[in-house]
């Protein structure tokens, strides 16, 4: 039987929203047992009484909407869920017991929160000397912003990505919100945990890892920082254009059927030769022969004329057909797929089995994206479904940590553990809801 690369490792995830949970997904994809430590006092599984149905199967929140929420479930594959009220001494003690039998802890709690809860690296290292502990707040462990709150789109802003985006003829306030920093931080955190496991294999030592989401993201924009460094030049906004490729853009195709009617194709010409081939495909060999467009600079200068010619062709084409024709001629082209039906029905991703049918006990059977890589030599089982809240309390607390049925009943009575979230748990936590509304 094949062994997945991280089979046998156990990782505790005390994370919310996207960045931390994404790291947990990737580690779980590789076979680690990822245990989400949640709480009935506070969760991010959507409103207790949702009014909008868009995140729920068939638009129905159901009796237990916290187990049927798309935004939560989408980033919870391959994980177990245990609930522990970490503000309760018994909850905290149980977390330490869990840390004792785990290899790593990942947290994206805001700066200061682990200290307030008593779940710092130092306190967990007391439970297990070689524990690996990764903290991934927005700005890191030190520095003037270490307690600052962040979300993906604010990391986008402070790292310089927001300033790169949008239409040049509109101001930045029209930018659609993008949370790319979450994706980068999550991928980086997963790598960091594995790096620490390698280091531990060398030395026997665990360690604390300080990951600032903003600092993980900036390297993904390295060349714009080097342009500032070399030339004291901040980037222009290019939208769908490019300083060293022309034509380069996004063009409308024939309208489609279904809920998404506008169809688009992106095209790029990285060289004069590719431009000539593009002209052949769109039935305008004259443009390819015209010396006014012979080089990059002249094509940049005449971009509106060239874009108009391309658009005159693309609007007569079905997007996927246009892409196939262009690709066959060696012209980079890509249909603008939407993130829902577009991706799931794409022939390439279907051929590669990129989506798996996953059956969830309360949400039903739906396709979910598998790991973002393929281990071609290892038999990788289908992902396990996102866990219900506290679904694995029995397994974690009894089988792993040796508690009895009576212990569990007592813990449930004290609301240290549970499977039904409490009032206020969906709006920042029960204790916050209990505090008087402060100004």
């Amino acid at each position: 039987m094949d062994t997945l690369p991280l089979s046998g490792y156990r990782i505790i995830e005390v994370c919310e929203i996207w960045a931390g949970p994404f790291a947990g997904c990737l580690l779980g994809d590789l076979g680690a047992q990822v245990v989400k430590v949640e709480a009935i006092q506070r969760h991010y599984r959507g409103p207790l009484r949702p009014t909008a149905g868009r995140d729920y199967p068939d638009g129905q929140p159901g009796e237990r909407p916290w187990n049927r929420n798309a935004n939560f479930n989408a980033l919870a594959r391959n994980k177990l869920s245990v609930t522990l009220d970490l503000a309760h001494p018994r909850g905290l003690a149980l977390l330490k017991d869990l840390a004792r039998v785990s290899d790593a802890v990942v947290t994206n709690l805001a700066g200061g929160v682990p200290e307030a809860l008593g779940i710092t690296y130092e306190s967990l290292q007391a439970a297990r000397a070689d524990i690996i502990y990764l903290a991934m707040p927005g700005f890191g462990e030190t520095g003037p912003y270490r307690r600052y709150r962040s979300m993906g789109m604010t990391i986008d802003a402070i790292t310089g990505h927001t300033a790169l985006r949008g239409y040049p003829d509109e101001d930045l306030s029209t930018n659609s919100p993008v949370h790319h920093g979450d994706a980068v931080a999550g991928a980086t955190a997963a790598f960091a945990v594995v790096a620490a496991l390698w280091h531990r294999a060398n030395t026997g030592m665990g360690q604390f890892i300080d990951l600032a989401q903003a600092e993980a993201t900036i390297p993904h924009l390295g060349e714009i920082y080097l342009d500032w460094e070399m030339n004291r030049r901040n980037p222009r906004r290019w939208a769908n254009r490019h300083p060293s490729m022309a034509p380069h853009g996004c063009y409308p195709c024939k309208s489609g059927d279904g809920p998404i009617r506008d169809r688009w194709i992106t095209i790029a010409c990285p060289s004069d030769q590719v431009f000539a081939r593009l002209c052949q495909v769109i039935g305008r060999p004259d443009l390819g022969r015209d010396t006014s467009f012979a080089d990059l600079l002249s094509r940049l200068e005449h971009r509106e004329e060239l874009d108009a010619a391309i658009q005159a062709w693309t609007t007569t084409q079905e997007a996927h057909d246009a892409m196939t024709l262009l690709a066959a001629a060696g012209v980079p082209a890509g249909v603008v797929l939407d993130g829902g039906h577009g991706l799931r029905s794409d022939p390439h991703l279907r051929a590669r089995g990129s989506f798996e049918l996953v059956t969830h006990p309360e949400a039903g059977s739906f396709p979910m994206a598998g790991p973002p890589w393929k281990l071609t030599e290892t038999q990788v089982p289908t992902q396990t479904p996102p866990p219900c809240l506290g679904e694995h309390n029995g397994y974690i607390l009894s089988e792993l940590l040796g508690l009895t049925g009576a212990d569990l009943q007592e813990l449930e009575a004290q609301q240290v553990i549970g499977t039904i979230p409490l009032e206020g748990s969906d709006t920042g936590g029960v204790r916050r809801a209990q505090r008087t509304r402060a100004l």
Binding site: F191, H199, E223, W373
Partner: protein
């Protein structure tokens, strides 16, 4: 203190962005990475720039210098039998090989995974390509914008009524490189313990389809048929919800981005504005009221912002418990007191490009710190690798150079 990935040896055949960013992560944390470049021009990113004063030079390309820190460079033409033979002699010295050739290339050169693993069962081969090793798009040419479009992240970005917009820079390729490093290192770790090798197929398109943005929106669509469209600016994300103070806003000297975490943060907004009377204002009493009076809120908020600088809004917002940040350019970020105090940007001296400041550590392992070193000159380590590792001598190198093999 040692580095995290001591003992890991990587042969890097990749070029461009995704593969080299993957191996940069490995190299900057202590793996010994030998980068194999084509003789003559080397990795094409040596021609990409940016360049000081916009004067192209293969040893001064900002993109190359950033992506290839901490690596050694050898030149090798692996399209020749002699080059392939040298490559085969190099392989046993490495646990990991990373490549980004068009799928099928390695097989044509007699270097398919099956052949490599027959010699080295524990070898980890990571192949990074735009569309993966299999599938109908396998041989499509690509650029950042086309693979990003196919990754599902573009359709929803931009404004209603206008063309969709890609993300900035080359973040799609960087993202794939960062993701590739995870299974690569995990497989190498497994191989240490049980000698099991692996061939990892990373497709940039698939990485983007697995991005949290696509995971979340995609599952919402699978569940309910919800289609995420491009919206007008500052539109509520949910019908009937208010969009107060969510998004990017102009202020006195630039822009700030704010994301209050839902209706429960209305008191935080009021605290930011220092207008307690708004809590009793019937126009804003409930979420429904706030949604109905969005314009009235903007009539208060926008002038408030116009009187304050980015830094003032940032500090006041954080003091009020609001996730917010100024919209920065690189100039702003390198001057920011937080990044300065953390020493985030680091200087490295390069024999041709000179002393330059680079983005620093993506994460800081306390017991095994990041320690990046400058990018290599083209073929800088030919002697160290070919003579030191393979036992060739100087006259061999001269002959190989003469024949264009290195």
């Amino acid at each position: 203190m040692g580095e995290a990935l001591e003992g890991l040896r990587v042969l890097d055949l990749s070029t461009g962005v995704a593969g080299p960013f993957c191996t940069k992560l490995l190299a900057d944390y202590g793996a010994a990475v030998v980068k194999v470049e084509p003789p003559g021009g080397g990795d094409p990113t040596r021609q990409a720039g940016p360049f000081p004063n916009d004067m192209p030079h293969p040893e001064k390309s900002g993109l190359f210098l950033h992506l290839n820190t901490s690596k050694r460079s050898v030149t090798l033409d692996i399209s020749t039998p002699t080059g392939q033979a040298l490559l085969k002699r190099l392989l046993p010295h490495f646990q990991v090989v990373v490549e980004s050739f068009p799928p099928g290339t390695l097989a044509e050169l007699g270097l398919a995974y099956a052949a490599l693993s027959a010699q080295q069962p524990a070898l980890v081969l990571t192949s990074i390509s735009p569309f993966g090793q299999t599938g109908p798009y396998r041989d499509f040419p690509f650029t950042e914008n086309t693979v990003f479009a196919l990754g599902g992240g573009m359709y929803r970005e931009g404004l209603a009524g206008r063309e969709p917009l890609k993300y900035g820079g080359q973040v799609g390729q960087y993202f794939a490189g960062a993701l590739a490093a995870v299974p690569t290192l995990a497989a190498a770790l497994r191989a240490r313990f049980n000698g099991q090798g692996e061939w990892i197929d990373v497709a940039i398109m698939e990485c983007l389809a697995g991005h949290p943005n696509q995971l979340s929106r995609g599952l919402a669509h699978a569940y309910s048929g919800y289609v995420e469209q491009r919206l007008p600016p500052h539109a509520p994300v949910l019908p009937g919800a208010s969009a107060f103070a969510i998004g990017t806003y102009g202020c006195k000297d630039g822009y700030v981005t704010l994301l209050p975490l839902g209706e429960r943060m209305w008191p935080n907004i009021v605290a930011l504005l220092k207008m307690p009377q708004l809590l009793d204002d019937p126009r804003f009493a409930t979420p429904k009221d706030r949604a109905a009076h969005q314009d009235d809120f903007d009539a208060i908020f926008l002038p408030w912002l116009a009187e304050r600088t980015r830094q003032e809004v940032f500090q006041a917002g954080q003091a009020a418990g609001l996730p917010c940040a100024p919209v920065y350019t690189p100039a702003d970020a390198v001057a920011d007191p937080h990044f300065q105090e953390r020493g985030y940007f680091v200087e490295m001296e390069h024999p041709v490009a000179g002393r330059l400041r680079y983005p620093g550590a993506p994460f800081r392992p306390r017991a095994s710190p990041w320690r990046a070193r400058r990018a290599p000159l083209l073929g800088e380590h030919n002697e160290e690798v070919y003579c030191g590792l393979l036992g060739l001598d100087q006259s061999d190198l001269v002959k190989l150079r003469g024949r264009g093999v290195i």
